[in-house]
Symmetry: C2
Subunit: 202 residues, 2 copies
């Protein structure tokens, strides 16, 4: 799931870079995209080591991840950055939680391929500055962020239903149903903190 | 010119990766694209060291390079690969020739950011295999390659006219008009050899 997520994130970010208002910003988003592909390569190599066919391992996640991106096509530069900041933020937190249930080596690999905070800071600074200079933007981008979360949750439920092994890993790792609820509470809280940090209304 | 070329090549290859027939091939073209951005970063850093504003330095090349790509939008996977193989092949040869006229440090940098032969081999192998299994493809892709070269030459002439300093560098470096002609003859010969190597008609 993470490998296909990286491949698709590359594709979308590379495309969204065209929305950038100047060459410098366009290059930064292109560089953020390129990092995803490096990570993709590392995950695919590990899948190979584990005896899996990387392509076959990714196929079950194609429809839901593709649907998420199709439903959340940014219309401008700030929507693209908000998507990278909010969407990747939650996805990274989720991967970090699941990584805790993996053995040492895979855990380390997952933690290493999560997004570099350097780029998150770039996205956060752009959003914050834009809202400061035009406070009306906060409403529009907050609604956009809620749509991202809603669509993300909807596709996450689909994956959970279609991939019982992943669901079982999360339930077993969390201990019980209360543990799963606590996990989702942590994701929600971190998301809220990220929204507040850039001036978005949760 | 090279820096903006890398930025644009990233954009186009990342987009063309969607044409790939499977996830593995899509990932390879995405990785080829990502290399361009790493190279872009190195060139921009060097421009900064030289005291140039990278964005301002790239602007004069935007229109002609953009026009080249707009006029040569691949319609399928093999056209995308042929564009990467033929177009980047000529562009790399040209940059290699011009690099010879630069001082040691800049020459080394240009040579280092030219395309990795690993990826050229991937593109060449895909084109060769496709033509072997469907010889009719050779005609269509050869015509496509001629269009790439024609459009590339047309934009190169535009750049030469608009950027006298670049033209002067090439003329001075080549020694005289005969030297310039010899340079273009070398480019033509290498291009012909690349075409033949994958089963395309020059």
């Amino acid at each position: 799931m993470l490998a296909y997520g990286e491949l698709l994130a590359f594709d979308r970010m590379a495309n969204d870079a065209r929305l950038a208002p100047d060459l410098r910003r366009r290059a930064v988003l292109s560089e953020m995209a390129a990092v995803e592909i490096t990570n993709y390569r590392r995950l695919v190599e590990r899948l190979g080591e584990l005896g899996a066919d990387p392509q076959a391992a990714m196929v079950p996640y194609v429809a839901s991840l593709q649907a998420y991106h199709d439903q959340t096509e940014p219309r401008d530069w700030l929507e693209a950055l908000t998507k990278a900041y909010v969407g990747d933020g939650i996805a990274d937190d989720f991967s970090r939680e699941v990584a805790a249930f993996l053995d040492h080596r895979d855990r380390e690999l997952v933690l290493q391929v999560l997004h570099d905070s350097h780029y998150n800071q770039f996205a956060a600074a752009e959003i914050r500055t834009a809202i400061e200079s035009d406070p009306k933007l906060a409403n529009r981008l907050s609604m956009w962020a809620r749509r991202l979360v809603g669509e993300g949750l909807s596709q996450a439920q689909r994956v959970a239903g279609e991939r019982p092994a992943l669901t079982a890993l999360i339930v077993a790792g969390s201990g019980d149903q209360a543990g799963v609820q606590a996990l989702f509470k942590r994701l929600t809280q971190s998301h809220g903190a990220r929204m507040t940090a850039v001036g978005l209304n949760n």
